[in-house]
């Protein structure tokens, strides 16, 4: 039946709305201040506000809590501690370990201990500072090394093996070891964590939460309130940025708001102030990784051992999958030959580090790039040659360290095209010449690839639902499980639906993500938003199209399989009817104009016990070339030019895809350059506000920034053969880090591979420059 009216999609230019650079569905409302975020919503007259009281020490045992001054503070309505939570006290998303409010043990600095409800935001926040809590401090575990020594892990390790690493390593002529200390990253979504809970009849609850995962927020609220899930509705219209930071860690604030709303039967809002948001929520995991790599005399890899150590913070959160993804990407696009990849999930007394665009992938992939640079310097070759040499092959050397065959590999061709279009070889010569005559300013150049696996590695999450309503004027509402955080998901879904029915985009309204419309949804994460929800939405369209086709075919006595929807008409052979007309007739003819769609990603199978299988539906590819100038006196630098060629399959919306690529690149560049998380020796975050934590500003955008889409449809049957685009471009920024190292390496005439742990702040670049200069002096 499905074949009935499905239109050819592969290689056919999608008609109507799909494939075009439509503006973001909210663009006009965003530029005029009309787009509503949760804190902008109309408030109930008696709404109250929550502030949380947090620990001022990193680890310890609470010996006494005196909240009398908090309770007596102006405007205070209610105060709760862990004892006031009616149901579950742990809101760990996958594994337990995340107390909603601290019990007796303090596990990290700024851990919430109590919460206070007051008549205004300021009164609540001021009251929250008046607690008298005595904590007997205990020793904290603050580094990956300490955690490893104490065998302090949040989850068991995981291994991937192929061949006999030890023998191959020992037999290879070139052997290199390296270590990388990789910084984490603050999400710095411009809209901080926020939620608003509105009590409804009896114990029912409506909650607005700035969350990438409304279904999980719904479940956790139900558990915390000790009610069934069907009593809770979570609504999410749009986030002011998420980037992974609102995948699991929006739940705590929604749960606290719900507890107060339930207890006091008033509307309640909880919005974290920026500094607390930065101190009390998890970040991109810092990693400390090691590698051993052996090659033949030409630099072709023979053996690899990679040890991945994620700093997970105090609880598992999503760290199991995050460290897995680092392991899945430690090869990037290169064949690791005989290899052994081990991944450890280290427990430290920091906030529980969490999802962040790339989800561990960047911290694994950068090891691969570090290895390429190290091999090239050792052999005196251009790192690009070593990269190309080690790419996965077409027929041989084409299996990953986890046993997945790399099919449809377009990386070699993509790199060749970029190398030509950005004049890599000519600029390489020019830069080498420039550096010879420039004692202070040095230039660097690097071209690095990206291969990123698309799918949730937890198989069950690769499913989605959608709900489509067509109204009697022919306009429609589509609702789906994905959340809009700026990435243009709703725009793309609207395009897909409009395309299916051959109607203008203005006929399709995308409504807020709600747990009562599409249930049991997956988080909008893993770049999968459009892949999953787009297919589910298309499925809902097909169901209604089948009904309409059958209805129309009966009327004109034709074959329903030949019905076509295009240009606001429905056509069957010589018969044509306006789409709206058919909808009205169908309504009169008692045809259901509402349908739910469903999708699950095919082909996935991964066995964690053997470290083998196919965790990804397909790979997205890209490459970037960055040119930088560094000031060897200060370590300051400038990214002068960036060229990117990226694979989004058949683009659903080139403008939105390019926006994801550029934005991802700059965010990745921030992670690798100026964004430095710093904790003091007691475990308190000191880069805890935007004055001390520096994300890229507008002047950091390279003046020459060429971005192109690689013109090839996805070989797998994804939605209109497009490819996911949220995370892969983040890692294109690896070329900035490699270019900085290239510039430093020029000081030693490219004979050394500088140690430059990311983020490469000016100070770290300067230290690497000094080391290079010291090396040079030793040679003379």
């Amino acid at each position: 039946m499905r074949k009935l009216i499905e239109q050819p999609t592969f290689d056919a230019t999608p008609q109507g709305a799909a494939g075009k650079s439509h503006k973001h569905e909210s663009a006009e409302r965003q530029v005029s201040g009309q787009a509503r975020y949760i804190d902008d919503m109309p408030e109930a007259a008696n709404i109250h506000h929550v502030a949380v009281g947090v620990s001022s020490v990193t680890t310890g045992t609470i010996t006494s809590i005196d909240l009398s001054l908090v309770k007596a503070s102006e405007g205070v309505i209610d105060v709760i501690t862990v004892d006031d939570i009616p149901g579950h006290k742990d809101i760990g998303p996958v594994f337990p370990g995340d107390p909603l409010l601290a019990g007796t043990e303090i596990l990290y600095h700024s851990q919430p201990i109590f919460a206070v409800l007051a008549t205004s935001v300021n009164l609540a926040r001021r009251a929250s500072l008046k607690a008298n809590i005595v904590i007997s401090p205990t020793e904290a575990c603050l580094t990956v090394n300490q955690a490893k020594q104490r065998e302090n892990f949040v989850r068991p390790p995981h291994f991937m093996r192929r061949g006999d690493f030890q023998t191959s390593y020992a037999q290879s002529p070139i052997r290199i070891e390296g270590e990388m200390i990789i910084g984490g990253q603050e999400h710095m979504y411009l809209e901080g964590q926020v939620s608003m809970a509105i009590p409804e009849e009896e114990d029912r609850m409506l909650v607005y939460s700035s969350s990438q995962h409304p279904s999980e927020v719904q479940k956790l609220i139900a558990e915390v309130l000790d009610i069934k899930l069907h009593k809770v509705v979570v609504d999410m219209r749009r986030m002011g940025g998420g980037f992974g930071g609102k995948e699991t860690q929006a739940a705590q604030w929604a749960c606290l708001a719900a507890v107060f709303a339930n207890r006091n039967k008033v509307a309640v809002k909880l919005r974290l102030p920026r500094m607390l948001d930065m101190m009390a929520t998890g970040k991109r995991h810092p990693f400390e990784n090691k590698f051993k790599v052996a090659t033949d005399n030409k630099g072709l890899i023979q053996a690899t051992h990679i040890e991945i150590n994620g700093n997970c913070g105090h609880s598992p959160d999503l760290s199991d999958a995050i460290v897995d993804r680092a392991m899945f990407h430690a090869d990037n696009g290169y064949f690791l030959a005989d290899c052994y990849v081990e991944g450890h999930r280290c427990r430290t007394n920091q906030v529980s580090h969490t999802a962040y665009r790339g989800f561990g992938g960047p911290q694994g992939m950068i090891v691969a790039e570090a290895m390429m640079d190290a091999i090239a310097r050792k052999l005196g070759k251009d790192p690009l040659d070593i990269r190309k040499l080690n790419l996965y092959g077409k027929d041989t050397r084409n299996t990953t360290q986890y046993g997945m065959q790399v099919e449809h590999n377009l990386l070699a061709d993509l790199i060749d095209k970029l190398e030509a279009s950005c004049d890599y070889q000519l600029r390489r010569k020019q830069i080498t010449e420039f550096n010879k005559d420039s004692p202070i300013i040095k230039k660097g150049l690097a071209l690095t690839p990206v291969k990123f696996g698309i799918s949730f590695t937890a198989k069950h999450l690769n499913q989605a639902g959608a709900l489509l309503h067509i109204y009697t004027d022919g306009s429609m509402q589509i609702n789906h499980g994905g959340t809009e955080m700026g990435q243009g998901l709703h725009t793309k879904i609207g395009q897909i639906v409009a395309n299916e029915f051959g109607v203008p985009l203005s006929h399709v309204e995308i409504t807020s993500t709600r747990t009562d419309k599409v249930p049991n949804t997956s988080p909008t994460a893993a770049s999968s938003g459009t892949d999953l929800n787009g297919k589910a939405a298309q499925n809902a369209c097909l169901i209604i199209k089948q009904r309409l086709a059958k209805f129309y075919a009966e009327q004109v006595k034709g074959n329903p399989e030949q019905v076509i929807f295009c240009e606001q008409s429905v056509v069957l052979n010589e018969h044509t009817i306006a789409f709206t007309e058919l909808i009205q007739q169908a309504y009169i003819g008692r045809v259901s104009l509402s349908a739910s769609g469903f999708y699950k990603t095919p082909k996935l199978e991964y066995d964690r016990s053997t470290g083998n299988g196919r965790p990804f539906f397909y790979f997205a590819y890209g490459a970037s070339c960055s040119e930088v100038s560094i000031d060897t006196l200060t370590g300051e630098y400038k990214v002068d030019r960036v060229d990117i060629l990226h694979d989004v399959g058949k683009s659903l919306n080139p403008a939105i895809d390019i926006g994801q690529i550029e934005g991802g690149f700059i965010q990745g560049m921030g992670w690798l350059t100026t964004e430095e998380l710093l904790w003091d020796t007691s475990g308190k975050l000191i880069s805890n506000n935007p004055a001390t934590y520096k994300i890229p500003a507008i002047g950091d955008t390279p003046e020459i920034f060429n971005v192109d889409l690689y013109p090839r449809a996805n070989d797998e049957d994804s939605i209109y053969h497009s490819k996911a685009v949220g995370e892969p471009p983040f890692m294109l920024a690896n070329s900035v880090w490699c270019a900085l190292k290239d510039a430093i390496s020029s000081i030693t005439n490219y004979q050394t591979d500088p140690v430059l742990h990311p983020p490469a702040t000016p100070e770290k670049v300067y230290n690497a420059v000094e080391q290079a200069q010291a090396w040079l002096e030793k040679q003379i």
């Binding site: 650079s21 503006k23 973001h24 909210s26 663009a27 006009e28 409302r29 965003q30 530029v31 005029s32 201040g33 509503r36 804190d39 902008d40 999400h187 710095m188 979504y189 411009l190 809209e191 749009r238 002011g240 940025g241 102030p273 920026r274 202070i440 300013i441 700026g486 560094i630 006196l633 200060t634 300051e636 630098y637 400038k638 926006g659 550029e662 934005g663 991802g664 700059i666 965010q667 100026t674 710093l678 000191i686 506000n689 935007p690 004055a691 001390t692 994300i695 890229p696 500003a697 507008i698 002047g699 950091d700 955008t701 003046e703 920034f705 702040t761 000016p762 100070e763 300067y766 230290n767």
Partner: protein, 492 residues
């Protein structure tokens, strides 16, 4: 009473908390939620709004509007008096988006959209300026707005494009009326119980004597942080906006006299006219919306060890004019900063003005700042040098440093030990390097380590030496574009 135009409506506020921020007022009292709170510390720009103020071209008639973007989160309500406050909701003309909004849509410059209203307002302020901005000017204007989604490229393109085809928007069309409405507002901001607005030195002295605990403020960009970040409340504040002597800018025979309460936005062009070498420092000093509010006097008075301008004031031998209502005195910048956050100001004192003497036409001035990020970051190290060479010999060398000690500091030994030495000599360079290596014992902190700071002192000295010697001048020493500075500070 604070009177102003809120978009198109006259607003009169009889009593308000003196520490009420503009952002709170807009979002919580006026339900104008287009203006967003991103950080409440003036670091992200999500709360940017525009103030239009009547100015006179020739000093006599007041008939033009000047538009400046500011951060509403660190601005107290009193700053609005006599001005038009424009928020993002007011930009469209009926159903038509303003050209800057339309351009942002067409260039796909919004993704999550949370930073967008702030960007729109900075773009709007730039759009209203007479000149046609180039890429650098666009970056300057938007340097206080952070975007985490787009990577900025489409925003830069949207701004360049719309500013190249400016049309008379609705604001220009009714400018005369707006000027008339603003001129009809009583110029004088009247004191209330919690906001004192002295208009003379006697009144200010009396206010300070009566309320010794009350803070004085000009731009409020620093003081407001105590409200938004530390949750402090100020029952009484003293505004300096109506103090005549604190709001003047005079180009005197011997130098520039800058009223302490003037925002940087209003003194920048004069400063750059006479001290073009400060351009990088000024460009890297906070971001445009902060500079449009923050005052030079506030920057000096708060005695920050980093301070941005104080190192330049030290190197340029500036003089701080201090008043207490009965007695005026002048304090050399080098004697003003005493200890961490402690200055030569007595409780009853205030800074009236800062005098910066013109440099000799042979003076070689350079101002350097090192920080993690170029725009809107606080210095790890700041170094300013002011050298006069006569016949190849050092006549004088004044200096100022920030970020390396408890106070902004000078290194007198550079002057005393290098005087008379040949500037181009390598030996001179080495002596200076040794002096600077020993001069300070900086600290490790979130911005930089102690060792890096010490290295920067000597390396910025090296950069200065390389840039000011003929034989080494051709060596490239900068990765960022720095406006070609005119060595002569004044035609004289």
């Amino acid at each position: 009473m604070i009177s102003f135009l809120l978009n198109n409506d006259i607003a009169n506020i009889d009593q308000a908390r003196a520490d009420l921020t503009l952002l709170e007022y807009l979002r919580e009292q006026k339900n104008l939620t287009g203006t967003k709170e991103g950080c409440a510390s003036g670091d992200c720009g999500a709360c940017t709004v525009v103030l239009a103020e009547v100015i006179g071209h020739d000093g006599t008639t007041r008939n033009n509007l000047e538009y400046r973007a500011i951060n509403s989160c660190v601005t107290f309500l009193s700053a609005l008096h006599g001005k038009q406050l424009i928020t993002v909701e007011h930009l469209p003309d009926g159903k038509n988006l303003h050209p800057v909004q339309q351009s942002m849509v067409e260039y796909h410059g919004s993704q999550c959209g949370f930073c967008t209203p702030g960007f729109i307002m900075s773009m709007f302020a730039l759009y209203q300026q007479a000149q046609q901005p180039d890429r650098e000017a666009v970056i300057q204007a938007l340097s206080g707005n952070l975007c985490r989604c787009t990577g900025y490229r489409p925003i830069i393109d949207a701004t360049l494009s719309v500013c190249q085809n400016k049309q008379a928007d609705k604001f220009k069309q009714i400018e005369t009326q707006t000027v008339g409405r603003l001129n009809a507002i009583n110029k004088q901001l009247i004191s209330t119980d919690n906001l004192l607005v002295p208009t003379s030195r006697q009144e200010l002295a009396a206010a300070k004597a009566k309320y010794p605990d009350a803070n004085v403020f000009a731009g409020s960009t620093d003081l407001a942080l105590q409200v938004t970040q530390q949750l402090k409340t100020f029952d009484k504040l003293i505004a300096l906006c109506a103090m005549p002597d604190l709001n003047i800018l005079v180009e005197q025979e011997e130098g520039l006299l800058i009223g302490a309460a003037l925002p940087f936005g209003k003194i920048e062009s004069s400063l750059l006219k006479y001290f073009p070498q400060l351009s990088e420092l000024l460009w890297r000093f906070a971001a445009t919306p902060i500079r449009n509010q923050a005052s030079l006097g506030g920057n000096v008075a708060n005695g920050s060890p980093i301070g941005d301008m104080p190192p330049a004031l030290l190197a340029l031998n500036a003089v701080i004019h201090v008043d207490n209502g009965t007695h005026k005195r002048k304090i050399a910048a080098s004697e003003f900063f005493l200890d961490y956050r402690k200055t030569a100001l007595e409780t009853s004192d205030w800074i009236e003005a800062i005098f910066i003497p013109f440099t000799h036409h042979r003076s070689l001035v350079r101002a350097y700042k090192v920080s993690k990020r170029y725009e809107d970051d606080i210095s790890a190290v700041c170094a300013v040098f002011n050298l006069q060479v006569i016949d190849g010999k050092i006549h004088s060398i004044y200096s100022g440093f920030g970020g390396v000690a408890a106070i902004p500091a000078t290194v007198i030994e550079l002057n005393t030990q290098l005087e008379g030495k040949t500037w181009s000599s390598n030996k001179t360079f080495e002596i200076g390097k040794e002096i600077l290596k020993q001069a300070f014992t900086p600290l490790d902190d979130v911005r930089a380590s102690k060792t890096y700071r010490v290295s920067m002192l000597t390396n910025l000295w090296k950069r200065f030496w390389l840039e000011t010697n003929q034989s080494t001048q051709k060596i490239a020493t900068r990765v960022v574009h720095v406006s070609s500075s005119n060595e002569a500070s004044r035609d004289a």
